[in-house]
């Protein structure tokens, strides 16, 4: 029977953490005690085999999944206040003119965009669509045939809303809408073999993230939000809506075909 103190020294030695005196003690013991020697050899073999285990390569879809999910996450707070940023940018006097000119230019572009598109967008909402997953053109949606819907009863989801699904030639549009004033996180699942996201439209500050077979969105409290797919949904039941609260899915339902 080997005493626990000796076993500890053996482990420390194998981890490269034994002191000089511990190493000497162990060395003497191993020379004279066959049982200790056998135990140490077995332990050394185990440690060696454990440490030889290679990392498993994650599936290739993991990275885009994470990126898409992070894009839909709440943006962390900034460390510095806007006041600090403002004073820092203006502090060198020689930059003041350039800064003023730059800000004027940005403001002009912003106002022009507002006039052009009829609403004030945000950089946040643009960033949160994963460009690698989005393709197609900005042609207006052609879908007008009512294909189905997903009613969201307040009694089940804690929020009232619905998803209405329209179809057109080679196109499907899902309109997501909830009661005004309540931000809601949702996931719309679709068959990626049949549909691909062409674009998403949201009023206000809504977030979207598109990954394989899923659109993650945050309803900004005003709507509706529209997800335009290329391809015709078939069957309409393959569209599934999930409502998410506190990182948990609290409601899940497939689309019902219209009659």
């Amino acid at each position: 029977m080997i005493d626990p103190n000796t076993i500890e020294i053996m482990n420390l030695k194998l981890d490269g953490s034994a002191t000089e005196s511990q190493r000497e003690t162990l060395h003497r013991l191993l020379e004279t005690d066959p049982e200790a020697r056998e135990h140490f050899e077995a332990l050394r073999t185990l440690v060696s085999r454990l440490s030889a285990h290679p990392h498993v390569e994650p599936p290739s879809e993991l990275h885009p999944r994470i990126v898409a999910a992070v894009a839909g996450a709440r943006v962390p707070h900034r460390t510095a206040g806007i006041g600090a940023w403002w004073s820092a940018i203006l502090s060198p006097p020689r930059f003041r003119l350039a800064t003023t000119f730059g800000l004027g230019l940005v403001t002009g572009v912003f106002l022009l965009a507002a006039v052009q598109f009829g609403r004030l967008g945000t950089w946040g909402s643009l960033q949160d669509v994963n460009p690698a997953q989005v393709s197609g053109t900005m042609a207006p949606a052609l879908a007008s045939e009512l294909l189905g819907s997903i009613p969201v009863p307040e009694t089940e989801a804690g929020v009232h809303g619905d998803v209405t699904v329209f179809g057109g030639p080679g196109e499907t549009v899902a309109e997501v809408s909830f009661d005004p004033g309540t931000p809601v996180s949702w996931i719309l699942e679709f068959d990626p073999a049949a549909l691909s996201v062409t674009r998403v439209e949201t009023p206000g500050r809504g977030y979207f993230a598109v990954s394989q077979g899923q659109v993650h969105g945050t309803y900004p409290g005003e709507g509706p939000q529209r997800i335009v797919f290329s391809g015709r949904v078939q069957p309409v039941e393959s569209l599934v809506l999930k409502v998410v609260k506190d990182d948990r899915v609290v409601f899940e339902r497939s689309a019902r075909p219209s009659r």
């Binding site: 076993i7 500890e8 482990n11 420390l12 981890d15 953490s17 050899e41 077995a42 332990l43 073999t45 185990l46 440690v47 085999r49 454990l50 440490s51 285990h53 990392h55 498993v56 390569e57 994650p58 599936p59 879809e61 993991l62 990275h63 999944r65 994470i66 990126v67 999910a69 992070v70 894009a71 996450a73 709440r74 962390p76 707070h77 900034r78 460390t79 510095a80 960033q127 990182d247």
Partner: protein, 181 residues
């Protein structure tokens, strides 16, 4: 990339540079996935946990203490998420043959796999969670005692005690299965 680079990436991210966070994802997605996989034994669960870890870390990035190492912080989130999922799925005390499939190599790896690796994987899965964590961090991620203590939030002395006991149990399990030298 060193720890201070991580801190710099965190600062850039908090300043609004999302690409900085993607760099952190690229750096840590594989080790975090492996932690989750070793803890949970299921690839799909490990992917879910890895995704959740990075989302939570992102959302709480402003709470990250720069005096700490980023990797310790994110590993801790990964350990906690894995434990949560384990508890939720009531898998903590289970030992099932399916674990071998979960940790089994993919088709392309199969040629290099050997029976010993399988046996070691099985034996690790038989350890209780506290022991499994230290084995995973020490031997699959090469953490020092201090780093493990930081990640697990326990004293270094406890880390050593758990690690040595875990190895002892592993040795006994493998010996009982006829896996000796």
């Amino acid at each position: 990339m060193k720890a201070h680079d991580d801190a710099d990436l965190v600062r850039q991210c908090l300043a609004g540079n999302q690409r900085a966070y993607e760099a952190l994802v690229r750096k840590y997605e594989k080790p975090i996935f492996n932690v989750a996989l070793r803890m949970l034994r299921d690839r799909d669960d490990a992917m879910d946990v890895t995704q959740t870890v990075f989302v939570k870390a992102y959302e709480k990035l402003n709470l990250f203490d720069e005096k700490r190492e980023f990797f310790s912080w994110i590993y801790r989130i990964a350990i906690n998420e894995s434990i949560n999922l384990s508890k939720r799925d009531k898998r903590l005390d289970e030992y099932e043959s399916g674990i071998t499939a979960a940790l089994a190599p993919t088709q392309e790896d199969q040629h290099s796999a050997d029976a010993l690796t399988e046996e070691i994987n099985r034996a690790i899965e038989m350890l209780k969670l506290d022991y499994r964590m230290v084995i995973v961090l020490k031997h699959f991620h090469d953490f020092s005692y201090q780093e493990m203590a930081d990640v697990l939030g326990i004293p270094e002395k406890t880390v050593k005690s758990r690690l040595f006991s875990a190895r002892q149990q592993l040795k006994e399990i493998l010996s009982g299965r006829g896996v000796t030298r």
